[in-house]
């Protein structure tokens, strides 16, 4: 990460340097060179960085060697434009599944130095997605959860559409509909309110 940031800073500085050189000295490099820039020699060389999808067996062998993998293990992602290039397709296993007792070089990441990293390595660290086997099969868990949630949603929805409750009537107040409590005139006789029918 640090190396990439240093490299980008150097690239920007180099581009500025190229521009001033083009303006001050006589021989100008082509405009495409100034725009694309040249990389500093302090970073990784181009043959150690990921490249395009390997098409010939020689390219496959070179890519396997670059990523420190054997030729049998090295399998690139299928070329369908998603942008993987020649990056290897490693098994989708989280770091939590790796042996906790082995002396890894980076114990918290359970990874050795120089080992090829999975494309989704930052997803598979131990704080995040875990592909360890579950006590019950995944399908059973999923079906139970979805079945329960679906059933409850359905019943609540039906209850909203067809409410069913005991019959109710408006509330009836005594003392002539609470005439005095509602600020009625104490001298006047209120009209009688009857809540029943015989």
């Amino acid at each position: 990460m640090r190396a990439a940031e240093c490299q980008r800073g150097m690239m920007a500085a180099l581009r500025a340097g190229l521009l001033t050189r083009a303006l001050t000295k006589g021989k100008t490099p082509g405009i495409s060179n100034i725009i694309l820039g040249t990389r500093a020699a302090s970073g990784p060389s181009k043959d150690t960085l990921p490249g395009p999808y390997p098409r010939t067996p020689e390219e496959m062998a070179a890519a396997a060697k670059k990523y420190n993998m054997t030729l049998e293990d090295y399998k690139p992602y299928p070329e369908d434009g998603m942008g993987y290039g020649d990056y290897p397709m490693l098994p989708e296993r989280s770091q939590q599944e790796r042996d906790p007792w082995y002396q890894w070089d980076h114990p918290d990441l359970r990874r050795n130095w120089g080992e090829p990293m999975h494309w989704d390595f930052d997803m598979y660290i131990r704080n995040r997605v875990d592909t360890s086997p579950s006590p019950v099969e995944w399908k059973k868990m999923r079906n139970q959860l979805l079945g329960f949630m679906g059933f409850m949603l359905l019943m609540f929805g039906l209850g909203e559409m067809f409410p069913c409750y005991q019959p109710v009537a408006p509330k009836q107040y005594p003392y002539n509909n609470l005439y005095l409590e509602r600020g009625g005139d104490t001298g006047k006789e209120p009209e009688p309110v009857k809540h029943y029918e015989i």
């Binding site: 990460m1 640090r2 190396a3 990439a4 990784p44 150690t48 960085l49 990921p50 395009p52 999808y53 670059k66 990523y67 420190n68 993998m69 054997t70 049998e72 293990d73 369908d80 434009g81 998603m82 942008g83 993987y84 290039g85 990056y87 296993r93 599944e97 042996d99 070089d105 050795n112 130095w113 120089g114 080992e115 090829p116 990293m117 494309w119 390595f121 360890s132 086997p133 579950s134 006590p135």
Partner: protein, 126 residues
Amino acid sequence: MATYKEAPLATRPKTLDPAEYFNLSPDHRRAEEKRAALRAQLKRQYLQQLNNPHRKELIEDPALTRWTYARTNNNYFRPTAKTSLIGGLFGVLPLFVFYVVFKTDRDKREAKIKAGTYQRPYKLST
């Protein structure tokens, strides 16, 4: 070894995999030896750098550099049918969908307010 049952939430370790004990083909062995050789070389490189008393700087990991480069520089993305479909579905369609949904919802509410039939759902004051 034959009676070993996996721990409930752990995968079976590679050293207890029965395939490793009963698979005696020379090809398999050669492949395993190659892998072990690669691992040993990487380990040796790392430990040499780690235990070097004159080392002052960080040990740079080229695998990490490659991973960062691959993830951040999308040089090899090509617009194909599949990628265009995904881009359209997740990038362009939500804009229009959200516009339509929010606009109709707000217009309905505005019409109700103008007609005087709108009930504020979470009204706390009297």
